[in-house]
């Protein structure tokens, strides 16, 4: 009962996305699929799930070729694809138990059902995976983690034999990721084959049995997880150029250009105090729920009016418009929903802060300049932002602020779901903003990213700042342990 994609070829228009890729997953196996953005992972999953029809090669189940013409047919054969957008397929207004059993009821051709037995059934289904939830909650009130788990449990209950998971853990915190790992173990015991796409290396090495790496549409590595190393995998993904570097340590001179005192994130917590010098990159490190997004939104004036000291003058920031006028810039966490306009082209984004009449040629020239500087691909100013890959969308979301010459640029988890190569370009974009004299506040839950970009780091926990560190003395372990305990390590500073 092995699912095999044999010498798959596929392309969009003239561009070839997959070139004779063979990929297999056996029952009870976790096969991790890795690659940069645009390597073809997502296309491969879409082909396996019947969303696209392969232009070459075959999909086989148990050596018998199958040709899915729609996701429905693939699902009937036991292949379920869960995309990054977990909301898809769940009905937010209905409760957990109704969402869980909707497929079962359909199979049983039942029209009426008793709520009581339905609840019992749903509870039983969840308990099998060690989840003890209140099944009466509406799905709209669940966290992303809970929705993801719910989708998986439902898929398995609906007789799925193969699960295709596209970055299921991207927004999980540590504990959630742990419980997710237990769920995967349980699924393996039940003989379910899992294809797993993730950017988190430690997770991949902990959970997977086999690792395949795609680069430029070709399969460049396939190994049993025990027989490969992190270095080998990363080298295969990047073609051997990635290395973790840090910014050289530097003492920043002169007065702070942006400062805020006693900015409250919730009524109980003491206010946040921050001061940033020109060109300085300050990282706020905090786990999920520590108040990162709240801090970012508060600083950008999206929650309440507050006072800040900007270049020595006290300013009242009333709202987002005021914040932008005072020279603040914000790259929000939900890139697609909050950072870009999917139906507008790259030029429109980059020229967004231009004033007066629109001169198309001038804007195109400006757009080309930024596209070139940040390697936005495809390098076409009239390309729609929604059709770009995640990394390029993020580049556009950041580049749209460049014309403003911001005083303070706030980044909220900008590397979510972005591959290693695009990441480095984006780090350089952020550094070039700092070199122009902007102060940078970079909020993240990824210790490696924090160490890569920071001049100074503070740790955020339960909506308060619990520690400050210089980046040259900080380590990933320090950051994680301080953030989890929520207090300053004894003896350290």
């Amino acid at each position: 009962m092995t699912l095999v994609l044999r010498s798959i070829e596929h392309g969009f228009g003239a561009q070839k996305v997959l070139d004779r890729v063979t990929f297999a997953v056996a029952p009870g196996e976790v096969h991790a699929l890795l690659g940069m953005n645009g390597a073809g992972k997502s296309t491969l999953l879409h082909l396996a799930a019947g969303v696209y029809i392969p232009q070459g090669g075959t999909v086989e189940i148990d050596r018998r070729p199958v040709a899915f013409r729609s996701p429905k047919e693939a699902a009937a054969a036991g292949i379920v694809f869960l995309t990054q957008e977990v909301d898809r397929g769940l009905v937010p207004a209905l409760t957990v138990h109704e969402n869980l059993t909707v497929g079962l009821l359909k199979d049983e051709r039942r029209i009426g059902f008793s709520r009581r037995t339905n609840r019992l059934r749903a509870r039983e289904m969840l308990r099998r995976f060690g989840l003890d939830w209140n099944v009466n909650r509406p799905v709209a009130s669940l966290s992303i983690y809970e929705k993801q788990m719910l989708s998986i449990v439902r898929a398995v209950a609906g007789q799925a034999k193969y699960l295709l998971l596209d970055e299921p853990t991207a927004s999980f915190d540590r504990k959630e990721a742990e419980r997710f790992g237990q769920l995967i173990e349980e699924l393996k015991r039940q003989g379910i084959g899992i294809v797993f796409v993730s950017h988190r290396m430690n997770e991949i090495f902990a959970l997977s049995d086999r690792i395949s790496v795609l680069r430029g549409g070709k399969l460049v590595l396939e190994r049993k997880t025990g027989q490969t190393t992190l270095e080998e995998v990363v080298a295969a993904m990047t073609g051997g150029e990635a290395s973790i570097r840090r910014r050289p340590y530097k003492e920043f001179e002169g007065p702070e250009q942006f400062a805020v005192r006693g900015l409250p994130l919730d009524p109980d917590a003491p206010g946040i105090g921050l001061g940033l010098k020109p060109g300085e990159i300050v990282v706020g490190f905090g786990l999920l729920g520590s108040g990162k997004t709240r801090l970012a939104r508060a600083l950008f004036g999206a929650s309440k009016p507050y006072r800040a000291l900007i270049r020595g003058n006290e300013r009242l920031i009333r709202g987002t418009r005021g914040a932008a006028r005072q020279g603040l810039a914000f790259v929000p966490e939900e890139r697609g929903k909050q950072g870009i306009w999917k139906r507008y082209d790259i030029r429109t984004h980059l020229a967004l802060s231009f004033r007066g009449w629109i001169f198309k040629s001038r804007e195109i020239a400006y757009a080309r300049e930024l596209i070139g500087a940040f390697a936005i691909s495809p390098a076409i100013p009239s390309y729609k932002a929604g059709a770009l890959s995640g990394g390029n969308q993020q580049k556009v979301a950041i580049a749209k602020w460049f014309a403003r010459k911001p005083v303070l640029a706030i980044f909220d988890e900008p590397m979510k779901g972005i591959d290693v190569a695009a990441k480095e370009t984006i780090f350089r974009m952020i550094e070039s903003l700092a070199d122009q004299g902007a102060s940078i506040l970079y909020l993240t839950a990824e210790p490696d990213d924090a160490l890569r970009i920071a001049d100074r780091i503070f740790v955020l926990s339960r909506r308060r700042i619990v520690a400050w560190m210089c980046s040259d003395k900080a380590t990933a372990e320090m950051l994680l342990s301080v953030a989890e305990r929520g207090e300053q390590p004894s003896g350290g500073n």
């Binding site: 950008f300 914000f330 929000p332 306009w341 429109t348 967004l352 629109i358």
Partner: protein
């Protein structure tokens, strides 16, 4: 046929039989086709005087449709334009006939009414956060009630009887010129329509202000987090919408020379249809001034041609609805490239 072959492999089967260009220009082809058809079946159709008639007949609706377009640009929807037009008509007629005012006042009062309705809409939508359609629907009823109450349900005309004898105010010639005059052989309403279409077009497509209105409509959350005042632009859009409806009302009063009650109501649906045909035009799903003008022309051409062919007016709505379906279908069947 080649284009179909390439597409079939990457798109879903539902759309593979219709080539891309048909989606893009489907609505334009419909207009050209309709005009060609009428020109062939009726020799009087494609003449200067008839075409000029068509343009004059659509000029007032186009003003309302422009108002709706502005509300669509910020992802809103204004159905109160019909009532606003009625109110403006009554206001202009009242200023002239009942209060014997001069041109300036007779123009200013209806325009202020339009601004007032726009602000009321904006208040309900921006401050009370009512859904656009429902808020403007409520305002539509209120404004319609206001103009009916003010006029006690009677039209306002020259020499109408009142408690103190006949009214002595008149529709002054300068006011009538707006709706009935001609300049260089072109009717004034057509000139005004073209002028305002041009201004709106330049404003929405070639100024950054207009572009930010589109950005507010395209993704309000992203606009807010870019420091664009979403509420500000929405208020502006509804005020502009009210102003355009009021301009339509002034034209209407001037054209017929009386203040008819509820004169704007029948214009609403044509205005909405025009704006939506424009929204679907070029397969862009984007409200635009040029699209709205073409949509309005399409409806005008249809009405004119069908009348010439002696199709009874009550059957014409069936054709209008059919055309709207056709135009929208072209655009909505097309897969959005940004959501592949």
């Amino acid at each position: 046929m080649e284009a179909i072959e390439v597409r079939s492999k990457e798109r879903l089967p539902a759309t593979k039989t219709v080539p891309e260009w048909l989606f893009r220009y489907g609505a334009v082809i419909t207009i050209v086709g309709v005009i060609a058809y009428f020109s062939v079946v009726n020799e009087h159709f494609f003449t200067y005087s008839n075409l000029s008639d068509i343009l004059r007949s659509i000029s007032i609706v186009t003003f309302l449709a422009l108002g709706v377009t502005f509300s669509l640009v910020v992802d809103g929807f204004d159905v109160s334009v019909g009532s606003t037009t009625s109110l403006a008509t009554i206001a202009a007629a009242s200023a002239l006939v009942l209060h014997r005012q001069e041109l300036l006042v007779a123009l200013l009062i209806p325009l202020l009414c339009g601004v007032f309705v726009g602000l009321l809409n904006a208040l309900l939508i921006v401050k009370l956060k009512l859904p656009d359609l429902l808020a403007t629907l409520a305002v539509m009823y209120m404004v319609n009630g206001i103009q009916l109450t003010y006029s006690k349900g009677y039209s306002i005309y020259e020499g109408m009887p009142s408690s103190v004898g006949e009214q002595t105010g008149r529709f002054i010639p300068s006011f009538k010129f707006i709706g009935q005059g001609e300049l260089f052989g072109v009717p004034m309403p057509v000139l005004l329509m073209l002028a305002f279409v041009l201004i709106s077009y330049l404003f929405l497509e070639f100024t950054t202000f207009g572009r930010r209105m589109y950005m507010v409509g395209g993704n309000p959350e992203a606009a807010n987090l870019f420091g664009i005042s979403v509420s500000g632009y929405r208020v502006f859009a509804y005020v502009v919408s009210g102003l355009f409806a009021a301009l339509g009302g002034i034209l209407l009063a001037s054209r017929i020379g009386t203040g008819q009650v509820s004169a704007g109501a029948p214009l609403l649906m044509d205005a909405v249809a025009s704006a939506y045909i424009g929204y679907a035009l070029f397969g862009e799903k984007r409200p635009s001034v040029v699209g709205t003008l073409l949509g309005s022309i399409l409806i005008g051409v249809l009405l004119n041609g069908l009348t010439m062919m002696n199709v009874p007016y009550f059957a014409q709505d069936i054709v209008k609805g059919g055309i709207l379906v056709l135009a929208l279908a072209f655009s909505f069947l097309r897969k959005d490239p940004a959501h592949r």
